[in-house]
Amino acid sequence: MSLLVVEGVRAGYNEEVDILQGVSLRVEPGQIVAIIGPNGAGKSTLLKTVFGILRPKEGRIVFDGEEIGGLPPEVIVRKGMSYVPQVRNVFPSLTVQENLEMGAFVREDDYRGRLEEIYQVFPDLREKRHQKVGRLSGGQRQMVAMGRALMLDPKLLLLDEPSAGLAPSAVSAVFDRIMEINRRGVAILIVEQNAKEALRLSNYGYVLTMGRNALEGPGEELLRDEEVGRLYLGRG
C-alpha cells in the first residue's frame, strides 16, 4: 500500500485561480520522492495542500490508508506526517532544544530518547542546544527545522526547498542529513530547486509544470532524460 496517494488535486490561494490543476503522485513507504519543476509550477503549493495548510478543491489525498483532504495541519501532524516550510521554519527566540520540544508537542509519551536520536543525526545541535535559534547560521537553522519535524518520528517528512539560500558547504551537509534520515526509515517528499542533487538521492521523481504532471520516473532515469536535462538541469 502506498504511504501517500495524491489524485487529481486542484488547489490555490483563492477562489478564482487554481495553482494546482489536477496533480497526482504517490510515495511508497521508506522512499525519497522529489518534485522538481520551474518556478511557479506549484511545487510548494502541492506540499501545503498535502499538509492541510491549503484545502484541496478537488481530488483525493490519502495518507496511510486514510483520506486526509481538507483536514487542518494540527490534525494531520497527529497522523504521522511532518512538514518543514521553506522559510520561517524555526522559532527564533526559542532555544534549539525548545524548538525540538515543540516538534514533539503532540506526543504524550516520553520523548527524551527521540531527542537523543535527533542529536545523533545532528551532532552540531547538541552543542548548541541552549542557544537561541535566531543566532544560528542558515545551515544550522535548517538542521533545527528538520530536527523539529523529526521529533514526532513521522512516517512521512515533507521538505520544501531545504537547500534554498544556504552556502554550498551547508547544502551538501543538508543533503547528507536527508539521506541519513531516510536510512532510518522515514519516507521523504522533497521539493527542490537544486533538481540534479534532489534526483540523485531520490527513488522517484515528478516534474511539475503549470500545476500539472509533466514527467515522472525513477530519479536516475529522470537525471539521464534529455528533456529534463535541457529544461531543469542546465544541460543545453
Binding site: 487542518p72 521554519n89 527564533p92
Partner: protein, 307 residues
Amino acid sequence: MMLELFVYGIVLGSIIALGAIGLTLVYGILRFANFAHGDLMTAGAYVGLFLVSSLFPLIGIPREPLGPFSFGWRMVAAFPVAMAAVSGIAILLDRLIYRRLRQKGSSAVILAISALGASLIVRMVVLILWGGDYRSFFPGVLRPAMELPFGVKIRPDQVLIIGVAALLMVSLYLFLHYTKTGKAMRATADNMELARISGIRTERIVLWTWAIGGALAAAGGVLYGIDVQIHPGMGWNFLLPLFAAAILGGIGKVHGALIGGLVIGVLQQLSTAWLLPTYKPAVAFIGMIIILLVRPQGIFGGETGGT
C-alpha cells in the same frame, strides 16, 4: 526625597508592569494593540471592591487587618477571585468581539477601534454599577509607614505590592519557560504558522494569553487600589503608561514590559518633584520618546522576535 520618590516609582512601576506584560503578551500572539487593557485593570479593582465591601462581609469573612497591612483576609480571598473574574472578562471580549473580527480578516485599524469600544463598554458598566466617585477598599484604615534607611518612608502595603507583583512575574517566567503550554505560547508568539504545523492548537494558546493578560491586569488594578483610591477612569489613565512601558521594552517581550514598566513608573514619580502629578501620563510618553530616539527598537527589541 528623590530616593523616596524612586521607591514610590518602583511601587507604581510594578503595577504598570503587570498591565504592560498582559498588553505585550496579547500583542505578541495576536499582533493586536488592546486599547481595552487599562480598563481590564479597572474591572479587576472593582471586582475586588465588590468582594471586600459587599460580598465577603455578607458571608462573614472578618474585616480585621492582618499584621501591619491595611487589609485582612477579605483582600487575601478577593485577590485571586478578581484575577479569575477578569480572565473571564478578557476571554469573553475576545470571543464576542475580537475573534469574530480576526476570523473575518479585519484590518488592524478595525480591531484597534473595536478595542476602544470594548474599553468604553467596560468603563461604563463600572460607572453604572459603582458610580463615578473615588472609592477605598477599606475606608478609614490607616497604617503607620515604616522608616527605611536614608529616611525613606514606605507603608507596609507598598512593600507588599512590590512583593506580590514580583511573585506574579516570577511565576509567569517559570510558566513560560518550564511548562509545555508556556513554551507553546512563546513558540506561537514567534511564529503562529509554524506552531500550527507543529500541532499546537493555537486557538487554545490565544485563550491562555487572554486569561493570563486579564489576570495580571486585575492584579495590577487591585494592587493599585491597595495603594490609593480607585475610580472608573483609572484604567484609562493607565493606558498611556502601559503602552509606553510595552513599547519601551520592545513590544512582544515580557521582560521588556517589566523593565519598561519600572522605568516609566520611576520617571513618573520622580517628575512630581518638579511637575504637577497631572502631568504624569505626559512624562511617561516624553520618557518613552527620548529613549526610543536613542534606541529605536526599544530596550530589548531587535535581534529576535517573540517573548
